[in-house]
């Protein structure tokens, strides 16, 4: 057995059930671990240990009285700083929200509370989820637990690093263009983005509303399936959430669905820009599926190279609109130097937002502005249709698609921070999935010679989560990559 803080949800749920441990013991083990390693990792922006222990005690009392809420009852789950947790800070790693405290719970948080989870901690991220390295946080730089000089990926870098370092049993993140899957790959953990609309966005600070989704980081695929079952569903507070379709018994599906599957490999994802070690690793994973009797089918997603420009037009346009709410009037940072209403807006925003956020708001404003709307925004929306059509065509032939999650392993801190375009290309394999609204998961698939984790991405059709989990689970359980932990 690994130490308690590196257990899976399923292992802890079993230990709790048979009385080998308590939620207080598990929560304390996680808190102790944070105390021991977070000076190095810097995953947490803040932590309310007293509140966490109180929730754990309540869980243990329920259990003692013979009424537990199920497998998540008593499991400590840490939260990205972009999801609202009542009475806890919600800063989106931005100076703009430095003193903001959330007055309510996000829907996904309420659902996890209803399942008995211990909700704790605020995890570092790129400011307003804009970035691929977590270096855009206004507060601190998170390290990759596998190499403290490297970035953990982003924007949910704190959520991924905390998992790799054993600082939580599971974490939540958000994924707009790869912000769960890319850091999961770079930190050697499981990270999953659901079909658009499957989880309510109520209480998630909006970045790009047509792309944003909440999702779990876990040690194994089964844990991700468990969390997804607890969080999915139509929510009256989010009109873009949808009633789930298809098989939503994800945990059962891991046992029932054993393949063999028809798996597509898009040739566009193995061309220029991919690190040779990543390429070899993913090809080996594909060979493993072939050896299990799966049909490996060469497919084409011909508009893949347009996904980055489409994404950075659509996402920044939506962001420029969504972030207009931060005006220094009702909440958030207010400039002390303002002397009229307009300078209150311009100075508060100029002072409160960091560099990348300003860059994206300016870009988004530009592509929506008169004279450029048709050439950029409208055209990007049309190409987005073509990108979705590519996937629809591919899924007529295959059950799921296999790709690398990230073209490279974790890079060194500072390596790309002065070159936004090279940073944007870190998401080249993940963003088309958001544009098309599909579910995808990253599972650990091995390590580079230097010991950095690599992730395999499994993409499924909309509402195809059950198959996606089953395909990923089969590979995971046949290898021990997911059980490896970094030396800290």
């Amino acid at each position: 057995m690994p130490p308690l803080h590196y257990n899976t949800i399923a292992q802890i749920a079993h230990s709790l059930k048979v009385g080998e441990t308590t939620s207080v013991e598990v929560t304390q083990a996680v808190l102790d671990r944070i105390k021991a390693v977070d000076d190095q990792v810097q995953a947490f922006l803040s932590l309310d240990a007293v509140d966490a222990i109180a929730q754990a005690q309540a869980s243990d009392e329920r259990r003692a009285q013979g009424s537990t809420f199920g497998p998540l009852d008593g499991i400590p789950i840490a939260i990205k700083d972009t999801l609202a947790v009542k009475d806890q800070p919600l800063r989106c790693a931005s100076k703009m929200l430095e003193s903001y405290t959330s007055p309510f719970d996000a829907t996904c948080i309420r659902q996890l509370r209803d399942a008995g989870a211990v909700i704790f901690g605020r995890l570092n991220m790129d400011e307003f989820a804009m970035g691929s390295s977590t270096e855009n946080s206004a507060y601190q730089t998170t390290s990759n637990p596998w190499d403290l000089g490297s970035i953990p990926g982003g924007s949910s870098g704190g959520s991924a690093a905390a998992m790799a370092a054993g600082e939580a049993i599971a974490t939540l993140g958000t994924d707009t263009g790869g912000s769960i899957r890319q850091p999961a790959a770079l930190c050697g953990v499981v990270g999953m983005k659901p079909t658009y609309g499957l989880i309510s966005r109520y209480g998630l600070v909006a970045f790009a509303s047509s792309l944003d989704q909440v999702g779990p980081f876990t040690r194994c695929v089964e844990d991700a399936a468990l969390l997804m079952e607890a969080m999915l569903g139509k929510d009256v507070l989010d009109s873009t959430s949808i009633r789930p379709q298809g098989d939503t018994h994800y945990v059962q599906a891991l046992q029932k669905k054993k393949g063999p599957w028809k798996l597509g490999v898009p040739r566009e994802f193995f061309g220029k820009g991919i690190d040779p070690e990543v390429k070899a690793n993913i090809e080996k994973a594909i060979e493993w599926y072939r050896s299990q009797g799966c049909a490996i089918i060469d497919i084409s997603l011909p508009h893949s190279d347009l996904a980055v420009p489409v994404y950075y037009i659509v996402a920044t346009a939506e962001a420029s609109s969504n972030l207009a709410r931060f005006d220094g009037v009702r909440y958030g940072h207010r400039s002390a130097a303002a002397d009229d209403a307009v300078s209150l807006f311009t100075k508060s925003r100029g002072e409160g937002f960091g560099e990348e956020v300003k860059r994206r708001i300016i870009l988004g404003t530009y592509v929506l502005s008169s004279g450029y709307y048709d050439a950029y925004y409208l055209r990007a929306q049309k190409v987005r249709t073509l990108i979705r059509n590519d996937f629809e065509n591919a899924f007529e032939q295959v059950d799921a698609i296999l790709t690398p999650t990230s073209p490279t392993p974790a890079f060194k801190r500072g390596e790309r921070s002065d070159d936004p375009l090279s940073m944007y290309l870190s998401d080249i394999y993940t963003i088309s999935v958001n544009l098309a609204g599909l579910p995808a998961i990253s599972v650990p698939s091995g390590f580079t010679k230097a010991g950095l984790p690599i992730g395999l991405q499994v993409i499924a059709p909309a509402f195809g989560e059950a198959d996606m989990f089953a395909v990923a689970h089969a590979f995971e359980q046949a290898h021990d990559y997911y059980q490896q932990t970094p030396k800290l």
């Binding site: 037009i313 207010r334 925003r349 708001i361």
Partner: protein, 97 residues
């Protein structure tokens, strides 16, 4: 979209209601020209007859049932979040001369 894109940074910053320093303006102008250059490949795509996609689920409009009274956050809780408040109101600089 064929010429080298140029952003009138003062105009766009004003539209976005963000005050930028001179240094930020020059850095951003150069970076955005690079990024927009990368967007140029979109202009070569044939999009004749292709519908624009705003959303993945094809949701066009959502009507909701009439509001039923229920628990809400207290007005005071929300007003207390404002950087400056007085007499249960948010204080802002003078808007109308």
């Amino acid at each position: 979209m064929s010429e080298k894109p140029h952003i009138d940074i003062d105009y766009v910053a004003d539209l976005a209601r963000i005050k930028l320093s001179d240094k930020e303006k020059s850095t951003l102008s150069a970076q955005l020209a690079d990024i927009l250059g990368h967007f140029e490949k979109l202009s070569a795509v044939d999009v004749d007859g292709i519908e624009p996609m705003a959303h993945t689920q094809n949701i066009h409009n959502v009507w909701r049932p009439g509001d039923a009274p229920g628990a809400t956050l207290k007005a005071q809780t929300l007003i207390e979040m404002a950087p400056e408040q007085r007499d249960n109101q948010v204080v802002v600089p003078k808007v109308v001369e």
